[in-house]
Amino acid sequence: MGASQSAGTEHEFQDLADRTGFSLEQIGNINKRFRQLSNNEETLSREDLASIPALDNNPIRAQIINAFFDKRNLHQNETGTVQEIGFEEFLMVMTHFRPAAMGLTEEERENLRREKLRFLFNMHDTDSDGTINLEEYRRVVEELLSKAGTIGQETAKAIADAAMLEVASTTRGKMEPDEFYEGITFENFLQILNTFDIETRMHVRFLHMDTATLRCGKSK
């Protein structure tokens, strides 16, 4: 932690550490990174995140960036987006990617799963209505496959439709003539991704050491 940290921040960090489960060093590193990205300001805006050069190649950067500003991910029971986030919110988003600690009970595991899947779901469900409808899904798939270059937009659409239909059939099963499928709800989403080991896969290793300096020149 740099000299710019006041004693008060230590206390905050401890508080955050307790709440989120990160260790103090990890929070320190993340804070450093936050400062770096936000140019030492208190809040981070979309442009700050968008200017990370390494993200340029990522097909779903828009969604990821939005995810940081999505209120639903900030553990607030609101919907909508914010324009800027503070360090605490940044950290909140990062908690979704913590590894599953050892020795969790079944219930805790399940909660962790739901949390992570919720994050993923929110990323798809851009209008916050609780279901992923065809348009939204299409958009995600198009973005995803767009960088591949070889897949045209139409094909991406077709693929999205196919996937959607698959989901419809697996989750709703036989549908009556007068029903129609509104979209993928969170429950359906859970169901589809049942076989995913999301607790272990959706996990970024937050190191105890500061690797920001190792990427000199790459990030801001």
């Binding site: 990821i64 496959l145 499928y181």
Partner: protein, 798 residues
């Protein structure tokens, strides 16, 4: 049952006869040589010269020229015998599910060995190191490398390397030293052996064998991480084994006195050279193969041959340079698989796959049979209770200790720790096999006085691991409730999620400034896409190699195939039956964009799972595209139509062509554009008609099941709505009968799944006029047109 027993008896008799023939042949050959009587010589001359010699008795019409064909004949015969043994083994499935095939083959080898020994009083056929290492092993390893799941392999590479290198060294050292200690203690009695020889023996018996691992784990489908650990270890430990073997062999030759620090350092350096050198040779050959397949468009018929030859050459080259040959051929297979699958024609890819499997399986069979035969040779048997039992004990115990120790260390660094049960299975799965036997047979008797003892011990170890551990592996895995391999294939949605995940993780890593696993993988991926693919892949292949796209393509092909099958079954692929009164007008607009999209989609060189009929489907080029007049309908996005019609067009066959030429195997596309367009128009009209009718009712139902769910229920699809309301439904009632599922013309086939791929029909064809009224999601579910669409799709699961 009786049939089976008969076959079994026949099989056995066949063996015995074959073997006797072989044996007698050898004897006759031997006799002929040892009795060079004038008569015989004369008759030989007469065959050769055709009446030249003076002392001929007369023209021989038919002669038995055994010598002439001896060598190839024996080889061919043995291959045949091995094949027949496999057939006999596979006769009884209940037996093979309990005892692994490899164990049964060894038993058959014993029987054969016994027969031969009985006939010859000596073992004429054994598994010689040359034959094994040059002719039997390469194809097995090439097969392993070619079919290696790369992503899994490389993501676990760290752990695999730890086990392969450190684990093998640990095993070698402990077994060698343990045995030496016991020898010093007098447990083995009086044998002429030394520390170095023990260490050498330890190093060759320590290595886990890939052939045995494949053979045993094949029956037991453990989860993929566990499998890749054991398997990867068995492949990569060759680097270590080769080095240790050569080093200790050299040490033994030098004698104990000459060993000093320099030599040991040289030994360590040679490890790195051998391992990395071998891999490098493999990678170079992989590059060669990929480049070569890039240019073989005109000689597609012999394309597959190159793979095998170059693979084999990589093996031999590494062997020549005293590097690790197994590592070389493994990396050759691993690195080239992606590029050759993309570059080669689908048929060539299939050929390569099948030939690879045939060769590998055949070799494996031969190896195990000969392992059995080689045992029946009293000349090599030296029994030393202490030595043998201690060896068995040590390899077993030290393997467990080694694995647990290393896993404990590894789990501190792994994202997904290896569980206790997995570790148990991993230790238990450390099978020794033919490689150890090959190495021990290579020892020089003069330097190693106790060679025969070592050979016997090795054989016993191999039998113990392959047979006992092989038989008990499955019950153990079941008892321990080891996580098994996922049987179902991922759905398209899951695959998309996978992709999303990867990107997301990389993004988070970027944002949080970490260099992680994902970052590395992403970097490699980018590098590979930019440079390697450009260099190694054909331009046409580059375009069409996205993974998800391939899946999509496969799905389409499968559906199209089922469509064709169903059409054939029904007698005709015609779908347009009645005239419609829809008032839509069509014109060909986006023809250009279509034809541009189409060839890409239907590009040949896709994916490993090629579909035989795809070549037929390739010719589809209806250049009509769907574009509705805007004055008739408020067309929202005509592109919607385009894209989603791509596939319908694939499936669509003009009516005329099938009227005259009904053929089960040959379908031609109608190239008469006018007619095709006409048919399209009618199709579209009919669809619109049904949309309109569907619109009247509630949103039409969408029962579309995936292939994976087999339910025998009637298709609720085009259900009630359409059939009720549109009497003048373009496709007529026949289609609905059919689609109605279990009843009707479909029969059981129709009752089966409707391959989901009907999706493509969706959205595109939706009538925008009433799309607006419905939830956007509906368009996906506009099944009416699905109904219209070749419902034939619903039938077979290929």
């Amino acid at each position: 049952m009786a049939c089976r027993t008969c076959l079994w008896l026949l099989g056995t008799t066949f063996f015995t006869c074959t073997v006797r023939l072989v044996v007698e042949g050898t004897e006759v050959g031997a006799t002929q040589e040892s009795h060079p009587e004038p008569g015989v010589v004369g008759s030989n001359h007469s065959q050769a010269g055709g009446g030249h010699g003076s002392s001929i008795s007369g023209i021989q019409i038919v002669t038995f020229k055994w010598h002439h064909v001896e060598a190839p004949y024996l080889i061919a015969l043995w291959i045949l015998v091995a094949g027949v043994s496999k057939m006999v083994v596979e006769l009884n499935h209940s037996l093979t599910s309990v005892i692994p095939e490899s164990a049964l083959l060894i038993i058959i080898g014993w029987i054969l060995g016994g027969i031969i020994y009985g006939a010859d009083k000596m073992q004429t056929f054994t598994l010689t190191p040359t034959v094994f290492f040059f002719y039997l092993l390469p194809q097995v390893i090439l097969d392993a490398g070619y079919f290696m799941p790369n992503k899994l392999f490389f993501s676990n590479m760290g752990a695999i390397l730890v086990y392969a290198v450190i684990g093998t060294c640990w095993n070698a050292a402990t077994v060698g030293l343990g045995l030496w200690g016991c020898w010093l203690g007098g447990a083995m009695g009086d044998i002429d052996i030394g520390l170095l020889q023990f260490l050498l023996f330890g190093s060759l018996i320590a290595a886990v064998d890939p052939v045995a691992v494949i053979a045993v784990f094949e029956e037991v489908h453990v989860n993929e991480v566990l499998f890749i650990m054991v398997f990867g270890e068995s492949l990569l430990n060759d680097g270590v084994t080769v080095v240790l073997f050569n080093v200790f062999d050299a040490f033994v030759s030098l004698g104990g006195a000459e060993i000093d620090a320099v030599e040991i350092i040289k030994g360590i350096i040679s490890f790195f050279v051998v391992a990395f050198g071998g891999s490098l040779v493999g990678i170079i050959f992989a590059l060669l193969i990929s480049l070569l397949t890039r240019c073989t468009k005109n000689i597609q018929i012999i394309e597959p041959g190159f793979i095998f030859i170059l693979g084999y050459l990589s093996y031999l080259t590494a062997e020549m340079l005293s590097l690790s040959a197994i590592l070389s051929i493994v990396f050759c297979g691993i690195c080239c698989q992606k590029y050759i699958n993309a570059n080669m024609d689908e048929r060539s890819v299939t050929t390569v796959r099948y030939v690879m499997k045939v060769l590998a399986n055949g070799s494996e069979t031969i190896i195990f049979v000969f392992l059995g035969i080689s045992a029946i040779d009293p000349a090599v048997w030296v029994w030393n209770t202490g030595f043998i039992l201690l060896t068995l004990l040590f390899i077993f115990v030290f393997r467990f200790i080694g694995v647990f120790l290393l896993t404990w260390i590894l789990n501190k660094y792994r994202l997904v720790p290896l569980e206790f049960i997995d570790q148990v299975v991993m230790s238990y799965g450390g099978l020794r096999g033919a490689v150890a036997y090959g190495l021990v047979a290579m020892l020089d008797e003069n330097k190693f006085k106790e060679k025969n003892l070592m050979v016997s011990t090795t054989l016993i170890v191999v039998y113990f691991t392959v047979m006992l551990q092989g038989i008990t592996m499955k019950p153990l895995v079941t008892w321990l409730k080891v996580k098994r391999a996922a049987v179902t294939e991922l759905t398209l949605a899951e695959k998309i999620q996978n992709r999303t995940f990867d990107h997301m993780l990389v993004a988070i890593e970027d944002i949080s400034g970490q260099i992680g696993h994902n970052y590395m993988r992403d970097k490699w991926h980018n590098f590979e896409e930019r440079w390697l693919c450009w260099f190694l892949m054909k331009p046409s292949a580059r375009k069409s190699r996205d993974y998800i796209f391939n899946i999509f393509h496969q799905l389409n092909l499968k559906d199209a195939m089922s469509y064709v099958k169903e059409g054939e079954r029904r007698g005709s692929l015609a779908f347009v039956r009645n005239e419609t009164k829809a008032d839509v007008d069509f014109n060909k607009k986006f023809r250009a964009s279509f034809s541009e999209i189409m060839p890409d989609i239907m590009a040949d060189n896709m994916g490993p799972d090629h579909v035989p009929l795809s070549s037929i489907l390739q010719d589809i080029v209806p250049s009509v595209c769907l574009d509705m007049h805007e004055q008739d309908l408020t067309m929202r996005e005509s592109e919607d139509f385009n894209a989603h019609h791509l596939l319908q067009q694939h499936l669509y066959r003009g009516r005329k062509q099938h009227r005259h030429r009904y053929s089960r195997s040959h379908l031609e596309t109608n190239r008469d554009e006018n007619e095709v367009q006409e048919i399209f128009q009618r199709t579209m009209r009919s669809r619109l008609e049904s949309f309109k009718s569907a619109k009247m009712g509630v949103a039409p139902a969408k029962k579309i099941q995936t292939k994976h769910q087999k339910k025998d229920k009637p298709q609720k699809m085009p259900n009630g709505n359409s059939s009720d309301k549109s009497k003048n439904h373009p496709y007529g009632d026949k289609d609905f009968e059919f689609s109605e599922g279990d009843g009707g013309s479909g029969g059981e086939a129709a009752g089966d799944l409707f391959p989901m791929r009907a999706y493509r029909v969706e959205a595109g064809i939706v009538n925008p006029a009433f799309m607006a009224e419905m939830d956007p999601m509906d368009n996906m579910q506009q099944i009416p047109h699905v109904a219209l669409l070749p419902q034939t799709l619903n039938s077979f699961d290929t």
